[in-house]
Amino acid sequence: MQVNYMDKDESPQIPRRMTRSSASSSASTSNNVLAAKVNSFEPLTIDDLLVGGNATSLNDIISNFPGRSNQILEIVRLLGPLNSPMLPLFVYGGSSTGKTSIILQLFRHLNRPLVYSSCRTCYNQRILFESILNQLLLHRKDASNGYSNAKRCDRPSDFVNFLREALTNVVNNLKEKSRKFSNKMTHGGIGNMIYLVFDNFQLVREWDKSSTVLPLLFNLYDLLKMPEVGLIFISSTSPDTFYSNMGYVEPIPVYFTDYTECDIRQILLKNQVNQKLYSSFLDVALLPLCRITRQIGELSTSLKPLYEKYCEPLTDKGAVPNEDMKRRLFSHFKPHVASSLSETFKVSSLPSAEVETCKEKKWKGNPKRLQQSEEMGDLDFHMSTSAKYLLISAFLASRNPATLDASLFDSKGGSDNRKRKRKPSMKVMEQKESLEEELLMKGPGTFPLERLLAVFQCIVSVADEPSDEEEQNDDGLGIHGGNGGLVSDVLLQLSSLCNANLILKGRSCPIEGSTRYRATISEDLALKVARSLKFPLSKYLYRR
C-alpha cells in the first residue's frame, strides 16, 4: 500500500524503493547505472557514495513534496554550505511523511556523498556495522568474493576502529579530489564531508536489550571526533522515546509533521489525469475519511476504489464536471462513502476482475439482497470442511469453560434446554458482569490438544447425524475409517490453521508439559464459518 503511494508521489526519475535498496546494498547510482555496474565488475569509486540520478533543483524538490517546504529548507540550512561541519541531526515524524525521500533527494541535489543504512534491512548490530563498512570501503558483494563482507565485525570496539580508519581514508580521498577539482573549477565539487544516515532508527531500541548499541550510535559523533563526518538519524518516533539512563548529548531535532488535509489534497491531486473531476470527488470524500485517519498511504488505498465508484455513472472520464453533474454524482456516490468508512482495507483472495464478475452474478441472482449483507454472509477465503469444523471446535474450546463441555455435548444440543429457571438475583448479575469483564480483559482461553480433539469429534458427530437441515451428509469428512487416520489428518489441519494465525500455539505449559492452543478468531468470523457449514454454533456457545 505504501509502495503504491510512493510511486505516485515520487518524482518520475527514480522510484524511491529502488533508491533505498540500492543505497543500502551498494550505495550505487540510479537503477540503470546500477544494473550496468553489477554486470561489469568495475571497482567502485568514491562517486558511488553519491545518490545518483539527474541533479534536481531545490525548487523541484519543494514542488515535488507539497507541504514540506519548511522541513526541506530547514534541513538544507542545517546541512549548511559545502564543507561545513555539522552536529548530528535527528529527523523524526510519522510514517509516510517523506523523511527518507526528502533526505535522499536533498543529497542528490547537493551532490554530497552519503552512507545510507536502514535499521530495518540491517536488522542487527553486526549487519548494520558491516553494511556501513562495506559502503565506506567501497566493497561490493559479488560472486568473486563469495558475497562476503569487507570486514567481519561484531563488537562495537572493532566497529569504531574500522570505521575511523575507513572514514579517514574516504575523507582524505575526498580532500584530494576537491583539491584537484578546485584547480579546474570553483563550483560543483562534492566537498569533503561524508554523511552517515541511519534510517528507521526507532527499531534499534528493540535490538538493544543489553543497551549498548543505542548509546554507542548516539555518542558516535563524540567517539569519532571527526568534524568531517555528519550523522543523520531518521526515526518515526520522537526523541523522547529514546531516553535511557545512559544519557547522551541530544542531536538537533527536525520534525516532520503529518500532512494537513490541505497537503493531502495536493498530494492526491498530483498525478491525476482529470484534475477537476478528482478535486470535486475529494470535496465529498476526503473530509469524512480524514476523520478516521490522516495517513496518506491508507487514504490513497481507500480512495482508489471510491473514485471508481464515483466515476461509474460517467461515460466520459475526461469530462469537466459542472454543478449539476456534481450533485448527480454525489447522490449516486453518497451510500458508498458510508460503507467505506466502516472498512479498513480489504484484500480479496480472488483477482479483482473475477470478484467483479462474481458480484455481478450474485447481484443478478438475488437482486433483493443488499450487497453489504451478502458480503457479511460469505467467507472470503477457502478452507476444507474439516478445517472449518476444527476451527469451530477451537473457537468453542477457547470460549466455553472446560467444565461445561460434558453438559453441552453429552445431551446433544443441551445448551438450550438448560434455561434459567428463576430471575437472576443481584449477586448473580454482578457475578455475570465481572465474568464478562474478565472475558474482555483476558481474551480467549487456552486449551490442550486433547480437549480440541474431543470437541471436534463431538461436533462432527452432531453434524453427521441426519437432521432437519438439508445436505448435511454431503460434508464428507472421511473420518469414519478409524481414529488413527483422523488424528493425523486433524493434526495436519491444525498446523496449517496455526500457520494461518487462526489458532495460536502457545508455549508448553510448565506444569502439565503439553502445548496449549488458543483460537484468535472473532465471534463474527466463527459465526460465518458455522453458517457456511450450516452448523448451529450458537447452540453450543456458553453465554455467561
Binding site: 570496539s157 549498548t212 544519557g247 531535532p253 520534525y255 509533521t257 468508512l341 495460536l504
Partner: protein, 418 residues
C-alpha cells in the same frame, strides 16, 4: 560572487568553531581552571616519574574530554618523547577481554610492535604489565584515558584492578584518567580497587550566565584579519554584540539554559541559529535565535496529539476516562465499551466500526502515545493486551485545546471528568 563567498566562509567558520570542542574550551588559562589543575597534575607525574589517578566528573557536554585533549596536546609539545596515551571507552571496552585487547593493540601501535589478534586475555594482560615496566624504565609515562569510567566499574573490575595494581610497583610510571558523568563513580569501585586509587577528583561545572555570554561573544565574532573584508567583519561583530546585549535575547537564552546549562547544550542552540543565518544579508539576526529556540525546544507529545485524527482522539479520551475511573487495567475491548457508551449517551457523529477503531488504536500504539503495559502477552492478540496512556491528562487537555478542529463533545468529556 566574491560577496557570496565571504558570507558562506563566515558561516563555515562559525560552524566549524561550534563543532570543534578544542576551540570552545581553549579560552580558559587562568590558574584555577580545571585545565590548569589537570595540566599541573599530569605534568608533575610526568616530570617526577610517579603514578597518579584522577577522575574528571561532570554532566554530559561540560567539556571533560575536550579539556583533557587540550592538556594532552600541550604535554605532547612539552615532552614529546616521554608520553604515550591509551584511550579506552566504557561503551566499547567495558568487558575485560576487549579492553585488554584494545590496550595491547594501542601499545603495539605506539611502539611499532606486531599486534596479534589471537593473543589471549592472559597474554594481553601480561603484555600490558611488561610494557608498563619497560615504559617505566625508559621514563615514559603512559596515560590511560578511561572514558565512561562508570561502565568500567561494572562487573568484576578486573581491568581497573590490574591496571592500578600494576601501577603500585616502583618501576611503573602511569596516569589513569577516568572520565564520567556519574558523580558517584568512585563509590562504585570495589574495596581492593578503591584502596589503590588516589582520590583526585576534578569537578566540571556548567558555566555561569556571564561565562556563557562571554563564550557566545567568543564564538560568534569574526576575526579581524585579512581573511574577511574589514568593514564586513566590523558590521558583523557589531550586530552580534547588539544581539547579545539585547534584553529579549537574554531572556530567551536564560529560558533555554534553565533546562540544561552545559556548554554542549548551548552549542546546539548556537548551531541552529548560525545555520539559520540569512546568506543574502550575511548577518546574524535576532530572528535566527528565536527560530532556533523554537525548533530545538520541542514538545513531542503535543505535536503527536496534533497529528491524530478525530477517531484517534476519541480513543485517547476514552482511555483517559477509564483511567479516571481507576480501572486497574484495561485493553482495547474495554476502550471500545467506553467508546460505545459515549456514543450511546451523546449520539456522536463519529461512531465507526470495530475494525476501523482497531486500526486507529494501532496507529496510537505506533505513535507511542499509548503502549502495552507488559511485554509478556505476545501470544494474545492486540485487542486483549492491557494498555496504558503515555501522556498525562493535562497534556491531553492541552493537546485537545490546540487541535484545530476538535469536536466540542470531546472537550466536554475531558472537562467533565478531569
Amino acid at each position: 560572487m566574491e560577496g557570496e563567498n565571504h558570507k558562506t566562509k563566515a558561516v563555515n567558520l562559525l560552524r566549524s568553531r561550534i563543532c570543534d570542542p578544542k576551540f570552545i574550551f581553549n579560552d580558559s588559562h587562568s590558574p584555577d581552571t580545571n585545565y590548569s589543575k589537570l595540566k599541573f597534575m599530569i605534568s608533575t607525574s610526568v616530570t617526577e616519574a610517579c603514578n597518579n589517578s584522577i577522575l574528571l566528573l561532570g554532566p554530559r557536554g561540560s567539556g571533560k574530554n575536550a579539556v583533557l585533549e587540550l592538556v594532552i596536546q600541550d604535554l605532547f609539545q612539552q615532552y614529546p618523547d616521554s608520553i604515550s596515551v591509551i584511550r579506552l571507552n566504557g561503551l566499547l571496552h567495558c568487558d575485560d577481554i576487549a579492553a585488554f585487547k584494545e590496550i595491547a593493540r594501542q601499545l603495539c601501535m605506539e611502539h611499532q610492535l606486531l599486534f596479534s589478534k589471537a593473543a589471549s586475555f592472559d597474554d594481553n594482560s601480561q603484555f600490558m604489565v611488561a610494557m608498563l615496566k619497560e615504559c617505566g624504565l625508559a621514563h615514559k609515562t603512559v596515560i590511560f584515558v578511561l572514558d565512561e569510567f562508570d561502565l568500567f566499574a561494572q562487573g568484576k573490575q578486573r581491568l581497573l584492578y590490574s591496571l592500578l595494581d600494576a601501577m603500585q610497583s616502583i618501576t611503573s610510571q602511569a596516569v589513569v584518567v577516568g572520565i564520567s558523568c556519574r558523580l558517584d563513580s568512585d563509590q562504585l569501585l570495589e574495596k581492593r580497587v578503591r584502596s589503590r586509587f588516589s582520590h583526585r577528583k576534578l569537578l566540571f561545572k556548567p558555566p555561569s550566565m556571564e561565562d556563557s555570554q562571554r563564550l557566545l561573544m567568543n564564538v560568534l565574532t569574526l576575526p579581524i584579519d585579512s581573511s574577511f573584508p574589514h568593514d564586513y567583519v566590523l558590521q558583523f561583530n557589531g550586530k552580534v554584540q547588539n544581539i547579545i546585549q539585547d534584553g529579549r535575547f537574554k531572556e530567551t537564552l536564560s529560558k533555554y539554559l534553565n533546562v540544561d546549562s552545559t556548554v554542549k547544550h548551548l552549542l546546539r542552540f548556537l548551531f541552529c541559529a548560525v545555520s539559520h543565518m540569512d546568506l543574502q544579508t550575511g548577518f546574524l539576526s535576532q530572528e535566527n535565535f528565536e527560530i532556533a529556540f523554537s525548533s530545538i525546544q520541542r514538545q513531542p507529545k503535543l505535536e503527536c496529539i496534533k497529528n491524530c485524527s478525530i477517531l484517534e482522539l476519541y480513543i485517547l479520551v476514552c482511555m483517559k476516562r477509564l483511567e479516571v475511573k481507576e480501572q486497574s487495567s484495561y485493553n482495547f475491548n474495554s476502550v471500545m465499551k467506553e467508546y460505545k457508551s459515549i456514543h450511546d449517551s451523546f449520539q456522536t457523529s463519529d461512531y465507526y466500526a470495530r475494525n476501523v477503531c482497531l486500526r486507529a488504536f494501532e496507529h496510537l500504539l505506533y505513535r507511542e502515545l499509548i503502549c502495552f503495559t507488559d511485554n509478556r502477552g505476545h501470544s494474545l492478540s492486540v485487542e486483549f493486551r492491557p494498555v496504558k496512556l503515555l501522556i498525562s491528562s493535562a497534556e491531553l487537555h492541552q493537546g485537545l485545546g490546540a487541535f484545530h478542529s476538535c469536536p466540542a463533545i470531546l472537550q466536554k468529556l475531558m472537562d467533565r471528568e478531569g
